[in-house]
Amino acid sequence: MSAGGHYRHLFTPLQLGPVTVRNRIVFSAHLTNYAAHGLPTEQHAAYYAARAAGGSGLIITEEHSTHVTDWPYEKLIHGFNPAVLPGYRRITDAVHAHDVPIFAQINHNGGQASSLYSRLPVWAPSPVPDPLFREVPKAVETHEIAEIVAGYATVAERCIAGGFDGIELQCSHSSIVRGFLSPATNRRTDGYGGPLENRARLLLEIVDAVREAIGTDKALGVRLCGDELIEGGTGIDDAVAVAKMVDASGRVDYINSSIGVATATLYMIEASMQVPPGYAMFIPSAIREAVRLPVVGVGRFKDPLQAERALEEGQCDLVGVVRGQIADPDFAAKARSGHSTDIRTCLSCNQECVGRMGLNRWLGCIESPRTGREAIPLPRRGRPLRVVVVGGGPGGLQAAVTAAERGHRVVLFERQDRLGGQVQVAATVPSRAEFLDIARNLIVNARRAGVDLRTGTTADPDAIRAERPGAVILATGARPSRPWWAGDHPRVVDIRDVLEGRVSPEGTVVVVDELGFHPATSTAELLADRGCQVEIVTNGMVVGQDLGITLDLETWNVKAHAKGIAQSVDLVPMGADPLDGGAHPGGVGLSLQHHPTGTDQVRECDWVVCALQQRPEDGLWSELRHSSFAVHRIGDCLAPRRAHAAVIEGHRVAVGL
């Protein structure tokens, strides 16, 4: 079989102007929050190098700001500061060591910013406040437009001096160029506003200036938004027209594509598992038909087969795989060598990548503990031990995988017949099915690493001691906790009772949520699909508050509306009384207090389903903690939290053995 195995297109080299890429897999630009003091760090170099080592065809760094007026988030790389140069060289040297080209994305975020860090007015085409930052920008004057253009040229030249093989102009997501292109934000009446040719003037001026600055032996790309998904914004027709102008300039080597506006419709840029893969491919398809330049397509490419198909169908010439390579830096190499099933596929859960970006935290990954930590060396491996892991949820599996990969002999006991722990339960809701991949990926890797997986086996202290362990890792998980206000009412149940099939609520159901995340909303969705009349009540100010950071809030609300799910906030349950007759025989009279005002109300319903904090399953810890061998506890049996905590702790304990 030829190199690339099953993939005829994915591993075919391509020319991007003067630069040859060896395959079609692009690690497209994305924020990492790895910068410190406006400068790129060692972590940047290690992060990109890991993806280069893993076979990526082309790496495009996160944006570098071109002007001092542009500082929308704290950890932005200040390309306008000459002090970035050593950091640039560190990054490009690290990537070039793997014979992979790397481009720098340069940008001015324009009005999609605030003055919080810069203490300068925000620059934009017109005084139209951004929906996220909500700061009225200063409409740039003509001499300031010239300054913007000059800033792009200066920073592009600096990037080339820093060893980059090309420049990508960010003109989508969040960009002053996008702001000029879009009728929603460009209200100018001068030569930079009005008809599309005028709105594109800044872009074409920048293209000219940057090409002059970098010469002809470096690549130049332009990233365009194909549909802003906002009222009065840029749509596909305008985008194609702009792409043609870019092509006609004769000074650009490729076009990258995107969808949405970062500060308005981000949930469609970095779509979660609620949005089908390939959802944005109408954009590169349309652009590709209109231009001669190679076009990059993006949008939740999780596995190489999808990417191959997009190439084969002519939707694009290259495929941006960002989260796929965040989750597994070796995505491309595994595909190329015929080991696609070993790829640790992205879940599109957005919890530790996208979810941390908006909170000004470094980029990580729910299932890749090393993502974001590539520059920090692991502790030296100790002598090989016999390791017993108890519990086959994500924490236990991660501990077992890491320990086995580091040369320890590992046996894992799982009480149930199947591995995956609560992930198996959560993923039974159809819209959460892709979450199951975390278990699949871990199980595949555990088998490959030679972990002795013993399902259907309860590990009591004697069984554990019989293994003569050098170390024991307890990952025994958590169990639902009966709330004080529920009494012994049989119709007040936990979401796990529903998802694990022990009860099947019918009729009117109130879902009580104190977690603010998927457990309540996904269960509510499932119950509504089964025909229940569902209301979610929460003590928070909004239902599913943490869905906001994973970009699931919009899709949740659309679905909730379609399924007739009611949402009530600021309510705390105070009691659950039996209902004898009436509309809900055998049902629940749920007393609720509106906590801001202290007023009481009652919901009469057939069932109450609770998404509440759980209790640790820590019986084994109590029995074993004073053993002669080391005993560690990780994940929910230490403190019930989300999957990432279990994975991180499993990895940390295993590398510390």
Partner: protein, 650 residues
């Protein structure tokens, strides 16, 4: 009777005044260290006469990393020494704030389970902590003593142990969070007493040991109540030198340092009661929105406290104590309790600052506006809002002859207009102070006077420098309305006479989510109007999260009978009905409406500028923003005129 500016001696260490600068988040550190920017920040307050400075609370153990720039005691030794060196010449005592946020922290940075007395998830972070076992309790006590040792080795005068609204020790005190059945659950004060004893043993009798003690969690069903706190104080006071009486707990974190909606000096009764309970043991410090030196003095006079913490007041004016001492209390730049720039417990890590004094927290970055320009001349400032007033104030202070011209009949501009409504009144104190300062500095003020391009030319011909600060104008209201509907501008309404508003249901259109829309809605509801507030957000007043007023504001709206129309886009109004679309589903709904009060973002009033482009300008006429930007730009333009501003800053 002691005066606020008298010295006070604690364990043989003498503070130059009885005014305390309390610990607060600053984000000034580099990594988790106390740094040079901290030192400059604290030093400015020491020079200004502050008696005792408590540095930003440092985590005593690596298990605690509550916000990204939270200092870690182990990293703070050199920084503490730098702070001590900077403050010592002025005489201020410096204490190291030491704490552990426990279950109210964050695992986002440590990537480890939070520590807490019991498995109770915090109401705000919703994160289930691990229950501390004896090993962790030992580590915590060792953490406090190790941190205290570092602090005194760095030359500090002592330490302050955080038992306030965000603290692990308070979590042990409270029935809300301590459900333990061991000795630390039976005696909820036990851990604190162990920590205090260990710290005292570590630092010895000649260093200050202070506690910042929550005496009311405002959750009487299970939380610490003032009655319980009396007993806690009686037990603790003999073991410590100073007690700062504070309030707030897991359900009321923002009650600790609330904005202007809470009355000033709100802890006075609580503090007095605790001081009495201590029976003369330990010095008691009154905390809680103390911004007026008169009120502070009264608290000393009536036995409420021995010292007074005036943190935000000294963020607003670092020289507060000196001004009191020199009989110039009327010249203190007022804290308006807005919390807009000084409350920086925020994921974005903003540096602490002040809307009225943007140099605060930026002492090493922004130039000092005081001083004299060698070639002072004549200046014309157009516009008597905050930007123009600040510009005129700084220019006059630097020796220029300044004429300030205002089109309207009073000064203060948008800020004065926005100071209408409950809890908003203090905004006017800043504009009032700017006006008073300008008059005292001899600024010639002309009201009711229009300035046109020819006036600018005439001024230029005379050799005068000109600064344009003409403020903002309303955004034209875009959605279609018919003749049954009256549309008024929110700020214009506040500036004018509400009596002219037509009868009928009012719809407050608030795409901003800041204090103005909510304030207008409250204000109109307070006049008996039927009010709905329309926002595209899932919560009303979302931006108030930054000032700590979000939950309270929503409760006030509810109590005032204001209907919150959430996730809604105002599409227009006709026939007495406003048309709203859901932002996500597009579902249309209608509500009663005869008046729309538009609280949208505004546009720059730039016609004068556009007639003479390139003229220096400041504030809203560049882009309508907040007080801070107006003050900052007014000041920068003034400093640029005298050449005192470095180049490169716009």
């Amino acid at each position: 009777m002691a005066s606020l500016v008298d010295t006070v001696t604690i364990v043989g260490r003498t503070a130059p005044s009885r005014v305390v600068f309390g610990p607060h988040e600053t984000n000034l550190g580099d990594g988790r260290a106390i740094g040079s920017r901290h030192a400059a920040y604290y030093r400015a307050r020491a020079i200004g006469g502050c008696g005792i400075i408590v540095t930003e609370t440092a985590s005593v153990h690596p298990s605690d990393w509550p916000y990204e720039r939270a200092p870690l005691a182990a990293d703070c030794g050199p920084g503490w020494a730098e702070v001590a060196a900077g403050c010592r010449p002025a005489g201020a005592l410096v204490l190291a704030g030491l704490g552990h946020a426990g279950g109210q922290g964050s695992s986002a940075y440590s990537q480890s389970a939070l520590w807490a007395p019991s498995r109770v998830a915090d109401a705000i972070n919703r994160e289930m902590p691990m229950e501390m076992e004896p090993e962790e309790i030992d580590q915590l006590v060792a953490g406090f003593t190790g941190a205290a040792r570092l602090a005194v080795e760095a030359g500090l005068d002592g330490v302050e142990i955080d038992i306030g609204p965000i603290s692990l020790l308070r979590q042990f005190h409270s029935g809300l969070t301590n459900l333990r059945t061991d000795a630390y659950g039976i005696d909820k004060l036990r851990l604190t007493l162990e920590v205090v004893a260990a710290v005292r043993h570590q630092v010895g009798p000649d260093h200050v040991v202070s506690v910042r003690l929550c005496c009311d969690e405002l959750a009487p069903w299970a939380g610490v109540t003032p009655d319980q706190a009396v007993d806690q104080v009686a037990a603790l006071a003999p073991q410590v030198d100073m007690v700062v009486v504070v309030r707030g707990g897991p359900f009321s974190v923002s009650a600790y340092r609330p904005d202007g909606h809470a009355p000033a000096t709100f802890n006075a009764d609580l503090c007095r009661r605790m001081r009495e309970a201590a029976g003369g043991r330990a010095a008691f410090v009154l905390q809680g929105s103390v911004i007026d030196p008169g009120a502070a003095q009264a608290a000393l006079d009536d036995g409420t406290a021995d010292l007074v913490e005036m943190t935000r007041a000294q963020i607003a004016d670092p020289r507060l104590v000196t001004r009191v001492r020199t009989g110039a209390a009327h010249r203190i730049r007022p804290c308006i309790l807005c919390n807009q720039a000084c409350r920086v417990r925020d994921n974005r890590n903003p540096l602490v600052s002040c809307v009225g004094e943007p140099r605060s927290g930026h002492e090493t970055i922004e130039p000092d506006p005081e001083g004299t320009d060698p070639s002072a001349g004549e200046a014309l400032v157009v516009g008597g809002g905050v930007a123009g007033l600040e510009c005129a104030r700084v220019l006059a202070g630097r020796g220029h002859r300044v004429r300030l011209v205002e089109r309207g009949s009073r000064l203060g501009g948008a800020a004065r207009a926005a100071s209408v409504g409950p809890g908003r009144e203090r905004m006017a104190e800043l504009t009032g102070w700017l006006e008073t300062e300008c008059r005292a500095l001899g600024v010639e003020i002309a009201l009711d006077t229009e300035v046109g391009p020819t006036d600018l030319d005439a001024a230029a011909d005379r050799g005068a420098v000109v600064v344009i600060a003409t403020g903002s104008r309303p955004l034209p209201f875009d959605p279609p309305v018919d003749r049954t509907i009256t549309v008024v501008d929110g700020l214009g309404l506040l500036a004018g006479d509400p009596g002219r508003l037509p009868d009928g249901p009012v719809v407050v259109h608030d795409p901003v989510g800041g204090p103005v829309g909510v304030g207008v809605a409250e204000w109109l509801a307070g006049q008996g109007r039927q009010v709905a507030i329309v926002t595209a957000d899932p919560i009303a007043g979302t931006q108030l999260a930054l000032t700590g007023d979000l939950a309270d504001a929503n409760t006030r709206l509810q109590r005032a009978g204001v209907t919150r129309e959430l996730r809604a886009i105002l599409r227009g109004a006709k026939g007495g009905r406003a048309l709203l679309d859901d932002v996500w589903t597009g579902e249309r709904r209608e509500i009663d409406c005869t008046v729309i009060v538009d609280c949208s973002h505004r546009l720059p009033e730039e016609s004068l500028y556009l007639s003479r482009p390139g003229t220096p300008r400041a504030g809203d006429c560049v882009a309508p923003r907040t007080l801070l930007e107006a003050v900052l730009e007014g000041r920068r333009r003034a400093l640029e005129i005298g050449g005192a501003m470095g180049g490169g800053i716009r």
